[in-house]
């Protein structure tokens, strides 16, 4: 079932939680709403669910599930599955009763027989690998198990769309990783439309078909994860999607200077700020004719596929972060306190009006 939002906005009192938003989610898509706290992503999800109502302004918005206009349909009749951040399991009911709840509250005419309910609940519990815990109570389960129960409960009523509010936010890293993979697989198998909220960019990029990046109640960009990372539309998206190094200075005659550091750039005169990802910083023992950026190594973290190196210099307001291949790390014999020169492989710039990105590539 596709989801279409037209001109949806929301005020809480006098604060605007959502600026008018338009969004199309295709059938079978897994879409992540990504943003910092206060960006309106949870509000948007709750409006889709019907747990919150959108503003009734002069130009009222619409919410469509497929062809069905659900703008004024009560949450219980929208046929959604909602997974809450802290699970919201019924604490006085067993796991079985939790999952069966949606089936047992159906109107008598549509309600399956108790044998059918039993069969369906156990099928769902099997799917989330919890059939052996059917008699337990929520408080006796781990966080990851509770989240799976909450998912099974939401799926029991065969919803048209599945909505998840920070589904893995309260879990530790390892469990989170497992559940993510598991949700991705489940989504592929059952083929429903899902929307989930997260503030974790890695989670959003790994899990989603498309990511909706939000800030301050506004949609900043909607794109597939790789497009989003390669071609961020504005500075907010660029900075939110990963670590960023800043190089501020003024350009004169094609040279950007900042203290005793300089870099040849093909830009007009004036104040300038360039942004670099950690992997776009190359380190060498010598400066070049076009690039003189002296730095001191202040911290080294050799964990993972690459070595993360923190760099400081008196011309830098904030330390830089660079990722270096282990081979290069050994070749340079890097240690703390060592003096090196940074060479941008590539840099990005966004002007203040949040216009599309300008990018430049340099020979390293």
């Amino acid at each position: 079932m596709s989801i279409r939002l037209e001109n949806i906005s929301k005020h809480f009192g006098t604060t605007q939680a959502l600026e008018p938003v338009n969004l199309d989610i295709h059938e079978g898509e897994l879409v992540g709403l990504l943003g910092p706290s206060g960006s309106g992503k949870t509000t948007l999800l709750r409006i889709i669910a019907g747990l919150e109502s959108a503003d009734r302004s002069a130009r009222p918005g619409r919410i469509l599930f497929g062809e069905r206009d659900v703008t004024h349909v009560h949450v219980r009749d929208r046929r959604i599955g909602f997974v809450f951040q802290h699970y919201a399991l019924f604490r006085h009911m067993s796991v079985f009763d939790n999952v069966a709840f949606g089936l047992t509250v159906m109107p008598r005419k549509e309600r399956p027989s108790s044998g059918e309910i039993r069969a369906r609940v156990f099928r769902l519990l099997e799917m989330v690998q919890l059939e052996h815990l059917a008699k337990r109570y929520p408080a006796q389960l781990s966080g990851g198990q509770q989240q799976r129960v909450s998912l099974a409960r939401a799926l029991a009523v065969k919803p048209d769309v599945l909505l998840l509010d920070e589904p893995f936010g309260a879990l530790d890293a390892k469990v989170r990783q497992d559940l993510r993979r598991w949700l991705r697989r489940l989504h592929g198998e059952l083929n429903f439309t899902s929307v989930f909220v997260t503030h974790d960019q890695e989670e959003a990029l790994e899990l989603s078909d498309r990511v909706v990046v939000m800030s301050n109640g506004r949609i900043e960009q909607i794109d597939a994860p790789d497009t989003l990372y390669r071609a961020p539309r504005n500075r907010f998206v660029f900075e939110f999607l990963g670590d960023v190094n800043h190089l501020e200075g003024s350009v004169r005659n094609g040279v950007l200077t900042c203290g005793d550091a300089y870099l040849h750039v093909n830009l007009p005169d004036g104040a300038e700020e360039l942004l670099l990802r950690p992997h776009e910083v190359r380190l060498a023992e010598q400066p070049s004719d076009t690039c003189h950026l002296p730095v001191v190594v202040t911290a080294i973290s050799p964990v993972g596929a690459e070595v993360r190196v923190e760099l400081e210099a008196d011309w830098l307001a904030k330390p830089w972060l660079a990722t270096v291949r282990h081979a290069d790390f050994e070749r340079l014999g890097m240690k703390r306190g060592q003096h090196l020169y940074a060479h941008p492989r590539q840099w990005h710039r966004f002007n203040d009006q949040m216009q599309p990105a300008a990018q430049a590539t340099r020979a390293a």
């Binding site: 669910a49 747990l51 219980r76 599955g81 809450f84 399991l89 019924f90 509250v105 109570y137 939401a154």
Partner: protein, 275 residues
Amino acid sequence: MRRIGDAPAVRRLLISAALVLSALFLLLPLVAIFAQAFSQGVMVFWANVSNYFTLHAIALTLGVALMTIPICLVFGVALAWLVTRFSFPGRRLLQTLIDIPFAVSPVVAGLIYLLLYGRNGWIGSWLDGHDIQLMFAWPGILMVTVFVTCPFVARELIPLMQAQGSREEEAAATLGARGWTTFRRVTLPNIRWALLYGVILTNARAVGEFGAVSVVSGAIRGQTNTLPLHLEQLYQDYNAVGAFACAALLALIALLTLAAKASLEWRASRREVLT
């Protein structure tokens, strides 16, 4: 390592002070009540209790308590629901207003009701024209009893419902449950212990209320005399044994209430350990 404030001398002093005070102010009077009630033997005690006026007072007291409880229950749940699940202008004011019956002296409450609903009162004179008498009759006793006891249930529920939040009810709604079903299957089971606790407190207060009831009841023997009022009359009539027999009955009800409360607390704490 000793914890802060855990010096043996201090501890011994506090414990003995607590024990001595409890004995002097709680235990001794309780023992004295029963001692006095039975001072002339069980037969005299029984004669006083089985006296028609006493029996009537017992029936009236228990009857009023039984009617008060459901009223307070519905009022308390509705109020707690309103205050914790909705935000509206005046919500905080309402939360403060709930406490008025606790803050106001019961005698004052009784007087206000008398002024409003008495034969010469604003509402009472109109009711009198329609042959409805509230004051100096059991409806008046019920009204003031409800007034003094109505905060108990709400006060038990509000902090609990605030802490639990509305997530489970939202979850029920997303699963298609209607309002009443959600209340019956999700909300009520979550608040049942607090609810019972509120009922116990309500009952204790309803049975023992003196001040407000004494103003509006008229204390007509065999008609509008509740057990506490009857007790006072007996005492004024120099019937000490009779008065203490009634006191013993009231104390017994209080003890039963306390036992019920303790057993509830014990069960609730055991549930927490379990889950």
